[in-house]
């Protein structure tokens, strides 16, 4: 693993820890996350409650772990959906050019002009707040980003001589897109995805903070933050911990994205 960028290491480590916590929470958590025990509230850290308990006597570590799972799942599904759809549209636009491209890009511009958070709020208001709607809202916000990125890079790839060579080889548009364009823009799209992933975590936190995200008893970092906000004077750790988790995750994904971009940068290879 020589010569990997530092950011990749740190980012990978942060994301790894969070992802591990999320995975572990699938099979084991210190306590049951939905169990409410008001008599046990505001316990300090102990052997039983490693990070203490919150205002309803729930184990904070458990909440954070399951919160990680929820945040990551939402971000993953949302960015995955948005990325897949956006990239598909971008590839289409990049391949067809002309009117198709014009229309797709105009649509992307159009959704850019629509304040993202506002859209999420409206969606949540229309269909009721839920896990699924948070996913859809975030995915939707992500589509135009991926459209732009993938269309621009696809257009560049289509200019390359090897695509001309493929056309001379009687390959069709679909085959060229599959065999040449997609693999060559994959790195850029993946980098974009990691960065958007960080953004998705932030939006999910903001949505949950506003009560529009994951619904109780499923914990979410954003909601933990908003619920514990008034407890800042009583139990600051209840605000600080989920905040730190968000920061660590976003930081982790951003660093990972940066590292991957460095890694994918062809100049890096040349300079070696």
């Amino acid at each position: 693993m020589r010569n990997l960028p530092v950011s990749l290491w740190i980012g990978g480590a942060l994301v790894g820890v969070i992802a591990l916590a999320a995975l572990v929470s699938l099979v084991w958590t210190p306590q049951d996350f939905a169990t409410v025990a008001v008599s046990e509230r505001f316990q300090p850290p102990s052997a039983r409650y490693w990070l203490g308990t919150d205002q309803l006597g729930r184990d904070v570590l458990t909440q954070l772990m399951v919160g990680a799972r929820n945040s990551l799942t939402i971000a993953l599904v949302a960015v995955g959906l948005g990325g897949a759809l956006g990239t598909a549209l971008g590839l289409l636009a990049g391949a067809k050019g002309g009117w198709t491209e014009e229309i797709v890009l105009r649509l992307a511009d159009f959704s850019f002009a629509f304040p993202a958070l506002l859209f999420a709020i409206m969606l949540a208001a229309a269909f009721g707040p839920s896990f699924a709607n948070a996913v859809v809202a975030i995915a939707f916000i992500n589509i135009p980003v991926f459209v732009r990125v993938s269309c621009a890079s696809a257009r560049q790839v289509w200019q390359r001589d090897y695509v001309l060579a493929a056309r001379a080889s009687a390959r069709g548009g679909l085959a060229i897109t599959r065999d040449h364009v997609l693999p060559n823009i994959a790195a850029i799209v993946i980098v974009q995805a990691t960065i958007d992933f960080a953004g998705a975590i932030l939006i999910e936190a903001a949505l949950s903070y506003l009560g529009l995200g994951v619904q109780p008893p499923e914990p979410s970092w954003g909601r933990m933050l908003s619920e514990a906000q008034t407890l800042l004077f009583l139990a600051p750790q209840l605000t600080v911990l989920p905040g730190l988790c968000i920061v660590a995750t976003v930081l982790g994904f951003n660093l990972l994205g940066d590292g991957l971009r460095d890694l994918a940068d062809p100049r890096r290879e040349k300079a070696r």
Binding site: P115, I246, A248
Partner: protein, 314 residues
């Protein structure tokens, strides 16, 4: 210039599209303005009467056309909830949000440029690392959380700044003071993003041949940086700064709520909660126009920066 005309047509098309979407969404949203206004104890006939008063008994398309007709006479409708012309509502709050946005934008750009250039100039050294670590943190911290921490420190503990609210423009000093924390919360996050773009873009340009030419002609590093590298690094910076404005608008919605500032962002929130269609409509259109206009300005700035683009070549 076909360019201007095309952009104008694009703006109108975008805004029409957005107005349609907003109208449709607001109609799909569960919630009856009359019920929201009159509350749980209201009687059906009172609600019916209010609905009629507000024109809500008309079909959607009729209301849309009506509204569109109003727009052409620069009448943006009357707020259901506030019972005053939407224009008045918006004009009332525009100065605050505008000040907030402009201050934040200017400071963001100034801070980001300074930090980005500083980091790039110290590429790979301690100064670069510290700046970049701080900016990574800046990006990662949710603005609302940062706001809470700022208030706790400066308003509650140190008591040097107000915890929120806005005293009005009558006392300019107090007004500015009340904007310090919100602007800080906005700027720290946005400037972090832009500083990174600045740094990357500056480093990119510094590698190019003409930067080398400038150095080969014996120019000092500072002169090369400010005279040759930075101007050329501006294009991506301006692009990102332009996109950030959209983020800034979303940011003000959150920040104004956290600091209970009577600005457009908060009005937007309340308007959605009140199902105040025309206010939402006008605000979304305003925000969207700002985004589109800023994009347009960004393109103009490209032209200003880059003589190659001025000649209508791609």
């Amino acid at each position: 210039m076909p360019f201007l005309l095309r952009r104008l047509a694009g703006l109108v098309a975008t805004l029409t599209g957005i107005s349609l979407v907003v109208f449709a969404v607001m109609n799909v949203l569960p919630g009856d303005p009359a019920l929201t206004i009159l509350g749980l104890d209201s009687t059906e006939d009172a609600r019916a009467a209010l609905s009629a008063q507000l024109g809500l008994d008309q079909p959607v398309w009729a209301r849309y056309l009506d509204w569109l007709g109003g727009i052409l006479q620069s009448d943006f409708g009357t707020s259901y909830a506030y019972r005053v012309p939407v224009t008045e509502l918006i004009l009332e709050r525009l100065p605050l949000t505008l000040t907030l946005g402009l201050l934040a934008s200017i400071l963001t750009i100034a801070l980001a440029t300074a930090l980005g250039v500083f980091a790039a100039a110290r590429h790979g050294k301690a100064g670069d690392w510290v700046t970049m670590i701080l900016s990574q943190l800046g990006i990662a911290i949710p603005a609302f959380w940062l706001s809470i921490l700022l208030v706790l420190l400066f308003a509650v503990t140190l008591r040097v700044l107000p915890s929120g609210g806005f005293p009005g423009w009558a006392e300019p000093l107090e007004a500015l003071k009340s904007l310090v924390l919100p602007v800080t919360a906005l700027v720290l996050v946005q400037a972090s993003v832009l500083a990174r773009v600045t740094r990357a873009s500056v480093l990119e340009v510094a590698k190019l041949d003409y930067a080398r030419t400038a150095r080969a002609l014996g120019l000092s590093p500072r002169r090369v940086m400010w005279g040759h590298v930075l101007p050329n690094a501006l294009v991506p910076m301006v692009t990102v700064a332009g996109m950030q404005l959209a983020g800034l608008i979303t940011g003000t919605i959150v920040i104004e709520n956290v600091f209970f500032l009577p600005g457009l962002g908060r009005l937007m929130f309340q308007a959605i909660n009140n199902r105040d269609l025309y206010t939402v409509q006008a605000l979304v259109l305003l925000f969207a126009s700002i985004v589109v206009i800023v994009n347009f300005l960004v393109d103009m700035i490209y032209l200003l920066i880059d003589p190659r683009l001025r000649e209508g070549r791609s």
